[in-house]
Subunit: 104 residues, 2 copies
DNA sequence: CCGGTCGTTCACGCGCGGTTCACCAGCCGG
DNA sequence: CCGGCTGGTGAACCGCGCGTGAACGACCGG
């Protein structure tokens, strides 16, 4: 059976993700992401256009409370920027809101 | 997906398969595959561009549930890569999505 | 019987991903 | 201008997912 109904598509500009399929594409090209990277991208895309705090991102991807000195979110935002940016050089795909969080 | 006619042609890039005829070709050249190998290729091609989990591949080719320590899918993906790659050296025909599955 | 193919499983180890640390750059208030 | 805080980035470390070769038995045609 071909699943056409539950294939939710998240999109922000040239970035899109299919949560059910575990697949992300940038400018139409499939991008290979790890589990953490993919879930983080989904969490950001689910709130496209809004600023999402590190606490919220951590809760959505890792689960639980973000420890005060935990840099996991920053590290994975960086990894995402590298992988997504490879397809669209020179474009800011994930924006930093100093003191608040990130936004796609 | 409903019933497929027996003239069905599956294609992804330079890889194509005729499920009814049990025939596969890479870059126009016929490739000799065993039954398991062929069915696995068909299962992958039926969802070309998507990430297919090991569980789904196992259910489609072997039938039933994939045991937690069963490496059958991995082994046959490797065999497929060897046979298909012989015609197109240096090309990645089957992509690994770490922690998710495979994609053609 | 015997040799070859196919499917399954095992064993080894490489490389990837996840976590954390360390250092630097940039922003901000005093 | 300066010092503290926030974020960027590279890298070390380690566990495990995965790639890979091979052994083994079942099956089959000769």
């Amino acid at each position: 059976m071909e699943a056409t109904q539950d294939t939710e598509l998240l999109r922000a500009g040239e970035v899109e993700a299919f949560p059910a399929a575990g697949l992300a594409r940038v400018a139409g090209q499939p991008v290979v992401l790890s589990v953490r990277e993919f879930n983080l991208l989904v969490a950001l895309l689910r709130r496209a256009g809004q600023v999402v705090s590190r606490q919220e991102l951590y809760a959505a991807v890792w689960g639980g409370e973000l420890r005060r000195d935990d840099r996991s979110v920053d590290v994975y935002v960086h990894k995402l920027r590298v992988k997504l940016g490879a397809e669209l050089p020179g474009r800011h795909l994930i924006h930093t809101h100093f003191g608040f969080g990130y936004r796609v």
